[in-house]
């Protein structure tokens, strides 16, 4: 059963379409990833679903409530974790959670227990009385997520929730979210970190320039590029201009991309293509610094669909 139903949602700023005719659904208990580079329109889309922005056209329904006609009802069904750490630094974690619980109408008799449970969940129960401005970035992010979970939402919307977080905290956050999803919480997760979406979301929408350019399970999306490996060769010297065509002629190579100090290659023969490419570079006196081989992933899909990388 669909929990979220997005129908032809569009947001126009002047002559620019920030979100262009987007439609998709999210099932109850599903973790859905929205992947795209900065400026793809993810935050605008999430802002409309959070009832922060009114769509120019189209509509979306969360638990059957329209974001245009019943925003208050929508707000009672969702928890939102914004990109910024939206907490009060001079208040303790406990005071912050208590304040936000009041805003979410969490009943008084349940409030204390729910806050304690969430502090346990994010692993900060022993630091609950510390002021937020004495927390590390990762700890703040964890409380930021805990706030979104306060209302026991049907859908948790997270907009790039791990920006600026150290790897250890990121892993902790993702594992917590995975656990919550396994317990039945539906998640809409936006990120430009492919690994996070791959870890958390079985179904993914790829967004670029305001449009959903691909939508499906991770497996379905990988099929778009076939069983191709992605090679990246970092160089120490300048890359000759015409080498792109020469590499493209090597057997198995389907796409070549020249960066400032690297050459990206998509190859159906994977590692077996690598010696031929290295020989060619040696002949053209290009010094190789390192080589990276990647299995087919969502990054390749994005590269395949747009010709550019996710983090550009």
């Amino acid at each position: 059963m669909d929990l979220v139903e997005i129908k032809d949602l569009t947001k126009v700023y002047g002559s620019r379409k920030a979100v262009d005719n987007v439609s998709f659904t999210i099932k109850k208990g599903e973790a859905f990833g929205l992947l795209g580079p900065n400026g793809a329109g993810k935050t605008t889309l999430v802002s409309m679903l959070s009832c922060l922005l009114k769509p120019t056209s189209g509509d979306a329904f969360i638990g059957g409530a329209s974001i245009i006609h019943n925003p208050m009802e929508v707000k009672r069904k969702i928890g939102v974790v914004p990109q910024e750490i939206s907490l009060y630094g001079q208040l303790s974690a406990l005071e912050n959670l208590n304040f936000w619980a009041q805003m979410y109408d969490v009943p008084l008799r349940e409030r204390a227990k729910r806050i304690e449970d969430l502090l346990e969940l994010v692993g900060l129960a022993d630091r609950k009385k510390d002021r937020i401005d004495r927390y590390s970035g990762g700890m703040k992010r964890r409380i930021n997520i805990a706030v979104g979970l306060l209302p026991n939402p049907e859908l948790l919307i997270l907009d790039e929730p791990t920006v600026g977080v150290d790897p250890q905290s990121r892993t902790a956050i993702l594992e917590t979210l995975k656990k919550l999803n396994q317990e039945g919480l539906a998640i809409l997760y936006t990120s430009h970190y492919m690994e996070e979406v791959e870890f958390l979301c079985p179904r993914v929408g790829i967004m670029d320039l305001g449009k959903i350019i691909a939508l499906g399970t991770q497996g379905e999306l990988r099929l778009l590029v076939g069983e191709k490996d992605s090679l990246r060769i970092y160089t120490q010297t300048l890359i000759p201009i015409n080498i792109k065509e020469e590499i493209a002629q090597i057997e198995g190579v389907s796409e070549v991309r020249i960066g400032e100090n690297f050459i990206g290659v998509l190859s159906s023969r994977g590692r077996r293509t690598l010696p031929a490419i290295l020989d060619l570079l040696h002949d053209r006196e290009v010094k190789v610094k390192s080589v990276e081989v990647k299995e087919p992933n969502l990054e390749n899909v994005f590269l395949h669909l747009t010709g550019k990388e996710l983090r550009e």
């Binding site: 959070s50 009832c51 922060l52 208050m72 707000k75 009672r76 969702i78 939102v80 914004p82 990109q83 910024e84 750490i85 939206s86 907490l87 009060y88 001079q90 208040l91 005071e95 304040f99 936000w100 009041q102 805003m103 979410y104 109408d105 706030v147």
Partner: protein, 404 residues
Amino acid sequence: MRKVWHIAWKDVKLRARDPSSFIVLLLMPLVLIFILGSVFQGGFQNTPFKVPVAFVDQDEGELSSILKDEVLKGPELSEMIILKEVDFPEEARNMAIAGKVACSIIVPQGMSVEIMKGKTTTIEVIGDPEQSIKAGVVKNIVEQFVLEATRRSVILSTAVEQLLSRSLIQPSQIEGLVSSWLENAPAAENLIEIRKDTAQDQNRPSSAMDYYAVGMGAMYLLFAANYGARSILEEKRMGTTIRLLTMPIKPLGILSGKLLGIALFTLLQFLLIIFFSASVYGVNWGSSIFGIALMALASVFAMSGLGAFLASFLRTEGQVAAIGPAVAIIMAFLGGGMITIYGWPSWAVLISRLTPNRWILEGFLSLMRGNEIGEIILPLSVLGGMGLFLFSIAGLRMRWRGDV
């Protein structure tokens, strides 16, 4: 409504935990009240007007005795005139010339009889040139006395003549009749009308500390309001406003909570200033607790409105931090919080009445003089109107600009 209160109370907690707000909003006004109150105390003191006078009574008659004992030493003048009785005219003249007294009065021998006969007589008044105002006052008193005594003497002699001519009394009865009239005549102190010194403004509080407690209190109300108003822009920057908007609360509720927070914090600060200035400096805020409470609420309402109004026209916290205090100081200056409002030209008075500071001063100074609520209806109404107007504009601007 509960959420509005939670937002407001959270803001009060945040401001109260900021150490700089304690220094700027509580310590600074108390220090300034002390400095200004101490420096300008001289201009507020009601120094008694004392006139030392030397008096020589060569007459020792009925009228000189009245002049000395019932006029100059009478209840109307006894607090002002310090009378020194001297035996010799020369001594009295020297005292005046030497400045030991403001003036000397020499009553000539036979003055009472001469006046009663309707004849001319001269009372000598010698003044110290350096105390000419005081000497002038005494001279006027003596002149008035002589004129009044002469007038009454003329009336009396005319009446006696009439009674004798119509044979209504015998000459032997005159002495007894005059004595009886003199006994029943108006009190001696009423012989002359003493015009009191009007230099003291009846509206002026007795202490500079009282005056500047109100003046600085009003100025720092706007400082506090600016602090609160900055938080609206700060929350926008921090993203907490956006987060609030994703929750089941209407934007108007958020705005109301923020504005209530400004007013609450400002009220708290003002009450602390009232409490500390009263208990530490002995500032007299008046005896009407209800009046003080109403004035405090109206003052806070108007100043919080002004703070929110300013913030609604400024874009960043930095702008509010820079422009807010400047406006607070200008308002305090124009509203009489820095220079006492007494004796201002009419155009300056008119401008001052456009500031909430002036009405806060008027209301509290009225209470300090012992007046009750009935006397502060006008300042209360004006401040209430100002607050309503400023909050409305600020609210509309903030909604229109998308602050909440």
